[in-house]
Amino acid sequence: MRTTASIMAWCCIAVAVAQRPSPAPAQAGSILIKGGTVHVGDGKTYDDGAVGFRNGTIDFVGYEYAVKAAYDSVIDAKGMQVYPGFILPDATLGLVEIDAVHASADEAETGSIEPEVRAITAYNADSKIIPTVRSNGVLLAQATPRGNLISGTSSIVQLDAWNNNDAVVKADDGIHLNWPAAFVQTGWWAEPGSTEKQAGDKRANALAGLRTFFLRAKAYAAQPFPRLTDLRLEAMRGLFQGKQTLYIHADGAREIQEAVLFAREMGVPRIVLVGGYDAWRVAPLLRDKKVDVVLQRLHSLPGREDDDVDLPYRLPALLKQGGVRFCLSYSGDMERMGARNLAFTAGTASAYGLSREDALRAITLDAAAILGIEQRYGSLEPGKSATLFISAGDALDMRGNKVVEAFIDGRRISLDNGQRQLWRQYEERYAKP
């Protein structure tokens, strides 16, 4: 132990920082964080714990007293909390900059069945939103296309990168299928007309189209070297080989039931349900078919007028009771700028039937497992990536979420952002007499 660095308060970081701070260089010396409460991500915690990492990989997790190896620098986190980096699935971070500015939107391609479009292609590592999300502890995200029956292919990225290639954690991890809704309303929500099952034809056609497409895709995937390349079918190949996940977006019990049975029938090995408002109602089916759930944003209104006021908050507990593995997302309105609140939705889960460590698991280890990156990410364990952060307090609570240090693959990333910069500027303006 050559040097002991005390934590630099973020407000002291040099003022002259661009709205997007530079990505951090690779970890040079080994680092030991000691003294804080270490949340492993799998449910375990170590009070007075320590985490050591070198060359981007964790080599020690445990109680501080058990640290034996020497580290180049030591961060004293006494009284603080150490977490694995939070993971944001089903996100459009980096795909749209400003909602109302159409020119800044790259999230939804035109078409209907477009598995060939790849989110990573459009992912803007320089989005000004990313640093504001990262500074609340979200260090990994799944860049996900939107729209259509099949939106396209997502990729998993880390949030401190020079460009989209540099950001990739797992390229083309899965394909996103939006299951057509079974019930469609006439009128609109403010003045609903009589509502009825979607005029049968349109939906039936969509489902028939999907079935045909999947059957063709499967046949195509069986040929190692097809004579003619079909971009759509080629994009589906990994699904049938189990290399990619089929993410099925569905909320209603009926749609979930249909979609899961469909995907199993088509022989897709890896299926994840996204949204899943009614997933708890069909938990036995999901358990039986081994389907994990990326849950919708918990901070939502009940989906049905008669639903319990706090039903959205209790969804994690209901899924846990039902024996279904799940993680949390922040999809929906304002999903990019709001993603910095992901941790608080986990906080809510912990108030409505989940333990705090289980709630944490839903944005760390289980998220990693569901996205297929748990070998490297999601928990603080020797051999895994040093993607973690230190918070002054409980990071699942607005009052405690003060990220003071964060590392991605051992790289000590900047926690500054354009918003902090403006804050400092105006604090300074008003400080002058």
Binding site: I129, F183, V309, M337, S350, M398, R399, Y426
Partner: protein, 999 residues
């Protein structure tokens, strides 16, 4: 099929000899239902021309009278449809491009339309009504907010001049602009404001305005005196909205309702207006699949169950109503509805009165129609039985003495199973199908189970029938001709066999009723037994979280709580709070009941709040919950005349959800689509109560202004409406306020005139738009202004300073931190989001530190929602100011309680836990700023409108109710009731930017 009756239009020439006989017609032997209460058996009705001459048991039939023997039949007064668009088409949009004549500027006000001038006979629709016994209708043009006058029409199929018997039978209104091509109104509140303004303009027109301009519509609105005024209102809340307009202008409306009036019965009866109710009832839902059934709300289920009892409930409570078949796809469906209403408690004579005497009285035609009395028009219909008998058949309708045969009498239902005697053989004949299109089959009398097809034709009493005779011992076809006798029971005549020989045949009916009718009967019996069980109660509102009992104001002592006083005492630990009569009575350690209530007598509930936190209720400075049909009247740059207070929706489930999040009061704001939007409404969340009861008594008046992208329509709409830039927005304000200043001066000058001068002068027009702005100038109406960037914030403060008013609150104000000192100097409050940004270009520089900076610089700062979802977690949003900018918890908490109370000028009553203030309190299970905080109880004015524990009972009750009605729906479907497919309600919410009443 019409025969006989009155002469042609009197002053028109006739092609050929005139029909001058006008023979009297006598109807004898029927049960005559003179009025809903009185019927005479074996009576005679004598008519001549289009009038009834005499009705009674001993009527002398003059010689030369036509006589109809109606023994065994019933004769009823003709029905009157009080709400019809018969023969009066809506405007043709293609012809609306050019304004013809001198009319009101907005074509939703079409008061000068007169149905009597527009009426074009519509025989098809008239015949459909006559088939059910209707003989007259009040027709109106159902197009516009002021729809002009309606006319009363006899359904006698003559020329309009003959059939229209009251050319000015009604004047008609609605909340829907219909086919008006003008953009305004696009919201319910806009419709209400437009109608109010038109009615004020009419007053001005009558008082002399007509000397300044001509306007046929205003002219028409000055001539409503004495006319029945029909308001096509819609749902129960709309009835109450219409009644407030009636009150303001001293009008009396007949209110058309969609059938849910029973859901707010007491309030609606208090209006005292007669109602027009639909004969259409909601269909059941298909709830066989439990997944499908989840999409049906309890509110929809209860409406299905309770709607049929609505008319009975209204009648029992003393309300008066007429029925209309309007809205029914087939008027014939009305009888099933009526029978169901009677099954659910409606008195038969009340039902018949609602079809006859009530509409006659409402539209001043008692002297002509409604009952069967001498001198009235000969409007009646002849039936086989009682109107409410499922097997009843309408034979003939007589309108204005003109006969319309529906089913030829004497032509009996031929259906049944007959013994068919053919010379030496007896066969079985089965006649099924419908009486009009019978289907015949024959088989051997014994041991034969397969029916062979026969061809049947019936012309009056003559029947012909043929079938292939091979199976029955004939060499070929057997053909029969005969006559039907004895109510269809006996048929006989001559037949010709395949060999050419003639022989006599007969058929005797063995089974009276065809089998399908038996099925109907069984279904009726099944339905009767399903509905024999009582229905559930009305809940307020009618959804799963509604209540039958409103909470009372309680006397409660909270013991040993952590009390966030928001006052000089700060956060008190282990303190007691006593509430009594809706107010906070005392706050302090160990309160003594004996000291608080020295006279005793008062029993206070003690709530052990050890470990719990007690705060004042959250006040959302910027909300759009509980608003009906449109949050923006953004069609013009200035719409200060519209009022959110006109369109409060007390049934919005988000009220309950907000209470569950500790919210007790909100400012319901107009949206941000225009520079000067509408007037706000300040409400407390008294869940279940009615719109008027939600309003905060004596609350100060507010109005919404807006700046930036929404106002200049950056993200939608045409690119040519002024303003398109922030430069233009500034000028909109100068223009509006210069006009408002002149307006105020004009009215002051008029008020200062001497009585003599006043009599000569035309009074200035009352302008609701400028009036609201004049109130801003006078300081009696406060501005909440939607804003984002610093330049526009500075601009509005400058306009305010130069014109002489103040901007009370900047809302959103996401760049407020850049001009915090200027805001503080102006004395404006700021109501901002905790952390929203990047949703449009103007929020690019928004930062979550905004609230902290504003607060530090001395601006009264609030955190608001603008969103129903966030609105129920405002405690969490307040807590974010701790994270972003390090605001102290006590100050953070004030940003959702005391500070909004200040911004709304309600801090003398709300916003802190101090004696004398309203008992709007929230009990939390822990620190309210924690992500894990849960609301245990929410009190509004000392009444417990939310209690987390009691919610469980409520939930169980709702579930029981749902299962009970589900079972009833399943049974109803089995008994043959029509069902509709299950549904899903999209949980959409209003935001600032939601445009329109509909997509």
């Amino acid at each position: 099929m019409a025969t006989g009756g009155a002469a042609a239009q009197r002053n028109a020439p006739v092609n050929g000899p005139h029909d001058r006989a006008a023979l009297p017609v006598a109807f004898t032997g029927a049960t005559v239902h003179v009025s809903p209460e009185t019927s005479i058996t074996d009576a005679t009705v004598l008519i001549q021309g289009e009038r009834i001459v005499e009705v009674g048991k001993r009527v002398r039939i003059p010689t030369g009278a036509e006589v109809y023997d109606l023994r065994g039949l019933h004769l009823w007064p003709g029905l009157i449809d009080p709400f019809s668009e018969l023969g009066v088409a809506k405007r043709d949009p293609a012809k609306l491009k050019e304004q013809e004549g001198a009319h009101f500027w907005n074509r939703a006000i079409a008061a000068s339309a007169h149905a009597a001038e527009l009426y074009v006979p519509d025989e098809k629709r008239a015949a459909a009504l006559r088939a059910q016994g209707y003989t007259s209708a009040v027709a109106q043009r159902m197009d516009g907010i002021a729809r002009g006058t309606g006319c009363a029409v006899a359904l006698a199929g003559r020329t309009p001049a003959e059939d229209i018997f009251l050319p000015r039978a009604s004047a008609n209104f609605s909340f829907s602009k219909g086919r008006s091509p003008d953009e305004l109104p696009s919201s319910l509140m806009g419709s209400i404001a437009l109608l109010r303004q038109a009615l004020y303009d009419a007053q001005w027109y009558a008082a002399g305005g007509s000397r300044e301009q001509s306007d046929a519509d205003l002219e028409a609105l000055t001539k409503l005196q004495g006319l029945p005024l029909v308001f096509d209102a819609g749902n129960a809340q709309d009835l109450l909205r219409a009644s407030r307009i009636a009150k303001e202008f001293g009008l009396e409306f007949i209110l058309r309702n969609n059938g849910d009036a029973y859901t707010r019965l007491a309030d609606i009866l208090a209006i005292g207006s007669p109602l027009i109710l639909p004969l259409e009832l909601p269909e059941a839902y298909d709830v066989e699949d439990p997944f499908d059934a989840m999409e049906v709300t309890l509110g929809q289920m209860k409406a299905w169950e309770l709607a049929p009892s609505g008319p009975a409930r209204i009648a029992e409570a003393g309300g008066r109503f007429a029925f209309t078949p309007y809205g029914l796809k087939e008027p014939a469906g009305m009888w099933a509805s009526l029978r169901h209403m009677v099954r659910c408690g409606l008195d038969t004579s009340t039902a018949i009165a609602a079809l006859t005497t009530v509409p006659a009285a409402l539209f001043h035609m008692e002297d002509q129609a409604g009952t069967l009395e001498a001198g009235k028009r000969a409007d009646f219909f002849i039936t086989s039985g009682h109107l409410l008998d499922a097997a009843n058949v309408v034979y003939e309708t007589w309108a204005a003495g003109k006969q319309f045969v529906q089913i030829p009498r004497g032509r009996e239902d031929p259906r049944g199973i007959f013994d068919l005697n053919l010379r030496t053989r007896i066969l079985k004949l089965r006649v099924s199908g419908t009486p009009e299109k019978p289907v015949a089959e024959v088989r051997l009398a014994d041991g034969d189970t397969t029916w062979a097809k026969a061809v049947i034709g019936i012309q009056g009493p003559v029947v012909s029938l043929w079938f292939e005779g091979g199976k029955f011992g004939f060499a070929g076809p057997v053909r029969l001709n005969g006559v039907i006798h004895d109510r269809g029971g006996i048929w006989d005549g001559q037949a010709q066999g395949p060999d050419g020989a003639w022989f006599a045949w007969s058929a005797i009916r063995q089974r009276e009723r065809p089998p399908d009718n038996v099925k109907e009967r069984r279904a009726m019996a099944a339905l009767d037994s399903i509905w024999a069980l009582p229905s559930g109660p009305v809940w307020y509102p009618m959804n799963a979280f509604g209540t039958t009992q409103f909470p009372d104001t309680e006397t409660v002592v909270f013991r040993n709580a952590t009390v966030w006083t928001n006052g000089p005492q700060g956060i008190l630990r282990n303190a007691d709070v006593c509430i009594h009569k809706g107010k906070i009575m005392a706050v302090g350690p160990k309160l003594s009941m004996a000291e608080l209530f020295p006279k005793g007598k008062v029993v206070a509930a003690e709530i052990d709040a050890t470990g719990l936190h007690l705060t004042s209720g959250i006040i959302d400075e910027h909300a759009h919950i509980a608003i009906a049909r449109g949050v923006n009247e953004g069609t013009q740059s200035v719409t200060s005349e519209v009022r959110i207070g006109d369109v409060i929706d007390p049934d919005d489930i988000n009220i309950h959800r907000a209470l569950a999040g500790g919210v007790t009061a909100v400012q319901q704001l107009h949206g941000s689509a225009n520079a000067i939007g509408g007037q706000s409404s300040l409400i407390k969340l008294r869940w279940g109560r009615n719109a008027e009861e939600l309003k905060i008594d004596g609350a100060p008046q507010f109005i919404k202004f807006a700046l930036g992208e929404n106002v200049k329509r950056s993200n939608w709409g045409a690119r040519d409406r002024f303003p398109q830039t922030r430069m233009g927005v500034e000028q909109v304000y100068y223009d509006a306020f210069h006009r408002a200043k002149d307006y105020a001066k004009e009215h002051e000058a008029y008020a200062a005139l001497k009585p003599k001068e006043k009599a000569k002068a035309v009074p200035p027009r009352r302008d609701l738009e400028l009036e609201a702005l004049a109130e801003v100038l006078a300081g009696t109406r406060h501005i909440t202004c939607h804003s984002y960037v610093q330049s526009e914030i500075l601009m509005l403060m400058h306009v305010a300073d130069s014109i002489g008013f103040k901007v009370n609150t900047f809302t959103h104000v996401l760049e407020g931190y850049k001009v915090a000192r200027e805001l503080a100097r102006h004395g404006a409050s700021a109501a901002t989001f905790s952390d929203w940004w990047a949703y449009k270009f103007e929020v690019n520089d928004a930062i979550p530190y905004n609230a902290a900076i504003l607060h530090e610089q001395g601006v009264n700062t609030c955190i608001n929602s603008d969103d129903a979802e966030m609105g129920r977690r405002l405690n969490q949003e307040a807590a974010k100011t701790i994270k972003y900018g390090g605001v102290a918890p006590g100050e953070a908490w004030k940003m959702v309680t005391l500070n909004p109370a200040k911004a709304l000028h309600l801090e003398h009553r709300m916003g802190s836990v101090e004696p004398g203030k309203d008992a709007d309190l929230v009990l939390w299970d822990g620190d309210p700023l924690s992500i894990r905080a849960k609301v245990l109880m929410t009190f509004v004015d000392g009444a417990r409108y939310y209690d987390r524990r009691r919610e469980l009972d409520k939930k169980a009750e709702a579930e029981t109710e749902r299962l009970r009605i589900t079972a009833r729906m399943l049974a109803a479907k089995q008994a043959g009731a029509a069902v509709r497919k299950a549904t899903r309600q999209e949980p959409g919410q209003w935001h600032c930017e939601t445009i329109g009443e509909r997509p």
